[in-house]
């Protein structure tokens, strides 16, 4: 299971947080229902960043969006560490800020739709499993 998680996080860690940073005026609407998966009990959707399809956690419990630092680097998204945040155990883990990133969350790609993605600096980050 842990291997699956590791693989999952390596490939998915665009952490789509529903309470994140998309402005209302630019909010993307999916014209039709889109499939999601339950991976390790978490809701995972497909997004596109820089023409790459990536699985992403749909996280209504998060206030910001996250992307794995390694994945951000691989996609050419600049980031810098700005502090630390808390994980499920209450321990702190480093995080940073990325440059503005355009994300397609359902066939409606809009420049600047997402203001920012927070970037987890730990590699590989692991799934929230409270």
């Amino acid at each position: 299971m842990y291997q699956v998680l590791g693989w999952t996080m390596r490939h998915i860690w665009a952490f789509v947080c529903l309470a994140g940073a998309l402005s209302a005026a630019q909010s993307a609407a999916w014209a039709a229902p889109r499939a999601f998966q339950l991976l390790d009990g978490q809701v995972v959707v497909t997004i596109i960043i820089k023409d790459r399809e990536l699985p992403a956690l749909l996280d209504t419990g998060a206030t910001e969006s996250l992307i794995d630092k390694d994945l951000a680097d691989e996609l050419g998204i600049r980031s810098r560490q700005t502090g630390r945040t808390y994980g499920a155990s209450g321990r702190k883990t480093p995080f940073g800020r990325t440059q503005d990133v355009m994300i397609d969350i359902g066939g409606d790609r809009r420049a600047g739709a997402w203001e920012r993605i927070r970037s987890a600096m730990h590699s590989p980050p692991r799934a929230y499993a409270y």
Binding site: G20, L22, T60
Partner: protein, 169 residues
């Protein structure tokens, strides 16, 4: 600005589909909705634990059924003396063990559940620094329970519709 401000998110756990629309464009279901509170921009629901009420976060990235804050359990008479066991969990900050109890009764979304396993830990793990500490959460409802419903979270109207699925779903 919140990602979901003025949007509605529909999760159909039977068809395994998700839909995000502007709140104004959805046609509300016929069923009665429940109030959706935004606690530091996160959707919460008041649930009935029998003799107690709890404000729980609806969390689509939490795989467990139920997670309760340690302080809430400590302050809730019908929970604080329940026997606890240890279970391993994995978070963004690595693997660790947490206490777990069996909650005798919980009701929300028009449905009642009994004997629900719940992990226990401080919820000072609020996502982003001190801001999270300002928000009081009693716990989290994870996908283990959310998948028993089809859910429409309307962040614009601050309402949630929950349609219970057959027990086998």
């Amino acid at each position: 600005m919140d990602l979901l401000e003025n949007t509605a998110v529909a999760l159909d756990f039977q068809k395994m589909t998700v839909e995000i629309q502007p709140s104004r464009s959805i046609v509300p279901p016929m069923e009665n909705p429940f109030p959706l509170k935004l606690n530091w921009d996160r959707p919460t629901l008041l649930v009935d634990l029998g003799d107690a009420e709890a404000e729980l976060l609806l969390d689509t990235a939490a795989s467990v059924s139920l997670h309760l804050s340690r302080s809430f359990v400590r302050d809730t008479p019908q929970l604080k003396d329940l026997p606890a066991s240890r279970r391993k969990i994995v978070g963004i900050d690595g693997a660790h063990e947490q206490d777990s109890i069996i909650v005798p009764y919980i009701a929300f979304g028009g449905r009642t559940f009994s004997q629900v396993p719940a992990s226990i830990a401080p919820l000072g793990n609020a996502p982003w620094g001190n801001s999270a500490l300002k928000s009081k959460l009693d716990g989290i409802i994870g996908v283990g329970l959310l998948k028993r419903f089809n859910i429409l979270m309307d962040f614009g109207r601050r309402l949630v519709w929950m349609t219970a699925l057959p027990a086998s779903s």
